[in-house]
């Protein structure tokens, strides 16, 4: 009986959600606690704008064979039982013990948590963590992360896909501070039979299809501004690598309009996956990798790239100034840039784009269908015609757009 309950997928999902929520709530509390303390301290002495230039902390890699890696969920094999075979393989190959922590649920939240350590150049608790392009750019501009030592990264020099160095690295020219862990495609996900039942069509092909009145209250969007508004702007025919404030506002107005009239029911972070499995939503903006991995349990779910354009962004390794084991972190990055390792991850259910050349060819030997999926291994053609990257924002724009987006997605008018 107990086993039955434990194996019930609904129970499993509630449990997984709750664990995640607990972590989030703890993060909120920790974040607010830390900030309260920081504010209390700041009340005594606050630097008058002049921030000192940070330098890398003393590297203890020689004596301490450990590395701490903070990352997002669904990014490692063996997550369900915490076995992490690929991490184990790294430990075996290098003799360095790796603490792999799935603690990042949101760029802003993670940043709020480690901000004070970052700014003072002290240990944030992690030797490396993976954050999305724009947040990586923010950390690099602020001088919070250390430059990479390419002599320790031979695999990167040999196998880094050129697109990930130039096209997707505009926030870090020449990839001096950051390297891609995985690429993420933002696209349209939908429930095949329910979509057909409500609209009479087989699959959505444009954003207009989501505004069909038959789908009222059945649409969800991502709370990640760059994916949702990126897709909306591209639907207006805008190139998102060079959009203007007007383009942004136009897309935001469209978004607010459909939030206001109830067409868009929910705006969520990674929790949107639950809405799809619960049947609360039928279609919406999603991260393609999630839907592909959910197809194993929910064959009714599918994901499409829009003709007008889908978004592409990367989560990037960063090594903070205060990292005590920077050299070990380099070894870690180097290991995961081996084509065999990258291919193994894709074959074991981490359905995100790899920046490692040669991984696709190796994956094709075992699973040709997977290797041919342009959502996981986008071709040059896919990149050229269907995927676009959101341009970097100036600090002022970052402030202004983030606030406008947050208000719109929380229904503040």
């Amino acid at each position: 009986m107990n086993d039955q309950i434990a194996n019930d997928p609904m129970f499993q999902q509630v449990l997984a959600q709750a664990k995640k929520a607990q972590a989030t709530r703890r993060a909120v509390l920790a974040g607010s606690g830390a900030t309260a303390l920081a504010l209390a301290l700041a009340a005594c002495a606050k630097p008058g704008g002049a921030t000192k230039k940070l330098t890398p902390a003393k590297d203890l890699s020689g004596s301490e064979k450990v590395v701490v890696w903070d990352n997002w969920p669904y990014y490692m094999d063996g997550e369900t039982d915490q076995s992490f075979p690929s991490v184990k393989a790294f430990e075996k190959a290098t003799g360095i013990k790796c603490d792999y922590n799935i603690v990042i649920n949101d760029n802003n939240e993670y940043f709020a948590k480690i901000k004070n350590s970052l700014a003072s150049g002290t240990d944030t608790g992690a030797d490396t963590f993976c954050l999305t392009d724009w947040m990586a750019g923010r950390l690099i501009t602020s001088g919070y992360v250390q430059p990479l030592q390419y002599d320790l990264l031979p695999n990167v020099t040999a196998n880094l896909n050129g697109s990930f160095k130039t096209t997707f690295g505009t926030f870090d020219p020449g990839r001096k501070y950051s390297l891609t862990w995985k690429g993420i495609v933002g696209a349209i996900g939908y429930h095949k039979s329910n979509y057909k039942k409500l609209t009479g069509k087989a699959a959505p092909t444009s954003i207009e299809d989501l505004w069909n009145p038959a789908l009222k209250g059945k649409i969800s969007m991502l709370s990640e501004m760059r994916d949702t508004l990126g897709i909306l702007m591209m639907a207006d025919g805008v190139k998102i690598d060079s959009f203007t404030k007007n383009d942004f506002e136009k897309a935001l107005n469209t978004f607010s309009k459909y939030v206001g009239n109830g067409q868009i029911r929910q705006i969520n972070g990674n929790d949107y996956t639950q809405l799809f499995t619960n049947g609360d939503v039928v279609a919406g903006v999603v991260w393609a990798g999630d839907i592909v991995s959910m197809q194993a349990d929910n064959p009714e779910l599918d994901v499409v790239l829009l003709e007008s354009g889908s978004t592409f962004a990367c989560d990037n390794y960063l090594i903070p100034m205060g990292a005590p084991h920077a050299k070990n972190a380099h070894e870690l990055i180097n290991f995961f840039y081996e084509p065999e390792v990258a291919a193994a991850l894709a074959l074991h259910g981490v359905y995100y784009t790899t920046p490692v050349n040669g991984a696709q060819a190796i994956a094709a030997k075992t699973d040709p269908k997977l290797a041919a999926n342009e959502l996981i291994f986008p071709t040059d053609q896919t990149f050229a015609t269907k995927l676009q990257q959101f341009r970097d924002l100036t600090p002022q724009e970052d402030n202004e757009f983030s606030k406008a987006w947050s208000d719109a997605s929380k229904g503040v008018v």
């Binding site: 609904m10 999902q13 509630v14 449990l15 959600q17 709750a18 929520a21 607990q22 709530r25 909120v28 974040g31 607010s32 900030t35 309260a36 504010l39 209390a40 700041a42 009340a43 606050k46 008058g48 704008g49 949101d106 802003n108 939240e109 709020a112 901000k115 923010r138 602020s142 009222k216 209250g217 709370s223 939030v259 109830g262 868009i264 029911r265 929910q266 705006i267 969520n268 972070g269 929790d271 639950q274 619960n278 049947g279 609360d280 600090p395 002022q396 970052d398 402030n399 983030s402 606030k403 947050s406 208000d407 997605s409 929380k410 229904g411 503040v412 008018v413």
Partner: protein
């Protein structure tokens, strides 16, 4: 605002309270340090943050000392709808909790007096939900009341809900969650007053030819008023500041955002600390005024 309710009922012998023994001071010290560290310091830093000004660089999350009280005006107008909604939801949920809790507490506290063991079991059942995480329970409701859940499908089959209607993400689902999550905070204070209710007073009322309704409104209700007041305060205040139920990740949507959700967004996502702090301070002030007026009106100042 006297603490008279907790003080001795007899007049204190003159001079008795003036003796300050070192033991009393030593006993008080941990409490004072605790309050100073964990209440006063954050409160002061909150107020300081609320009047900070943006850094000239315009960088996100960068603020300097200043004295910009316009932050308060900004949050009061910008988030007016969410502020109003918080108090509206809190009022509805508190009233619902009272309507559900009073009969329940009456049953356990009065009717079950003869069965002491059963009474204790029932009280335990009231607090039993606390054995499971608040977040887990709220998420479970999200699943149980999802669009293709058994409950919603049944309502649709009975035509009590339209084919395209839904529950999760609506104001109804948020108020449901708030009421459900805070009911024990209402039931327990009510139970403690009802449990001490002197039944002989009710008998006296009946002897004086009051019908049962009059006995209730003239005797039971006034005697249990302190329980009602503390129960409503214990539910109303946390409900109006709650940010879990109304969040889009739980039972709410963008149409149900409350004050707590806006503080969270400004603090963690937008890194606009001054407006988050100003909204918190404003919220505290409004709550204080509301509670003060409420207690004044209901004539139970002794509670404060």
């Amino acid at each position: 605002m006297a603490f008279a309710a907790f003080g001795p009922s007899q007049p204190v012998v003159a001079g008795a309270g003036k003796k300050s023994s070192p033991i009393v001071l030593a006993l008080l010290l941990p409490g004072i340090i605790y309050l100073g560290l964990f209440f006063l310091t954050p409160l002061i830093s909150l107020i300081i943050t609320a009047v900070e000004v943006p850094d000239a660089s315009g960088a996100i999350g960068a603020y300097n000392y200043g004295f910009d009280i316009s932050n308060f005006g900004y949050v009061a107008t910008h988030y007016f709808q969410q502020i109003l909604r918080s108090f509206l939801y809190a009022t509805i949920a508190t009233v619902l909790a009272l309507l559900i809790s009073y009969p329940l507490a009456y049953f356990i506290g009065v009717r079950m007096r003869r069965f002491a063991v059963l009474q204790r079991i029932l009280v335990t059942l009231v607090i039993a939900p606390f054995f499971i995480s608040f977040l887990l329970r709220t998420l479970a409701w999200k699943q149980l009341l999802a669009d293709n859940s058994w409950a919603i499908e049944t309502l649709k089959a009975l035509h009590l809900m339209g084919a395209n209607d839904y529950f999760i993400g609506t104001p109804g689902s948020v108020i449901f969650g708030l009421t459900y999550n805070f009911i024990p905070f209402m039931t327990l204070p009510l139970y403690t007053t009802l449990e001490r209710l002197d039944l002989r007073l009710l008998e006296a009322g009946s002897d004086l030819y009051a019908n049962s309704r009059h006995v209730f409104t003239r005797v039971t209700l006034p005697i249990t008023l302190p329980g009602i007041i503390s129960g409503t305060l214990l539910t109303f205040i946390p409900i109006s500041g709650d940010y879990v139920n109304a969040s889009a990740n739980y039972l709410g949507s963008s149409k149900t955002s409350m004050i707590g959700n806006m503080v969270e967004a400004d603090f963690l996502q937008n890194l606009q600390y001054p407006s988050a702090a100003a909204l918190s301070v404003l919220f505290m002030a409004v709550i204080l005024v509301l509670v003060w007026v409420y207690v004044k009106k209901s004539g139970t100042e002794d509670l404060l």
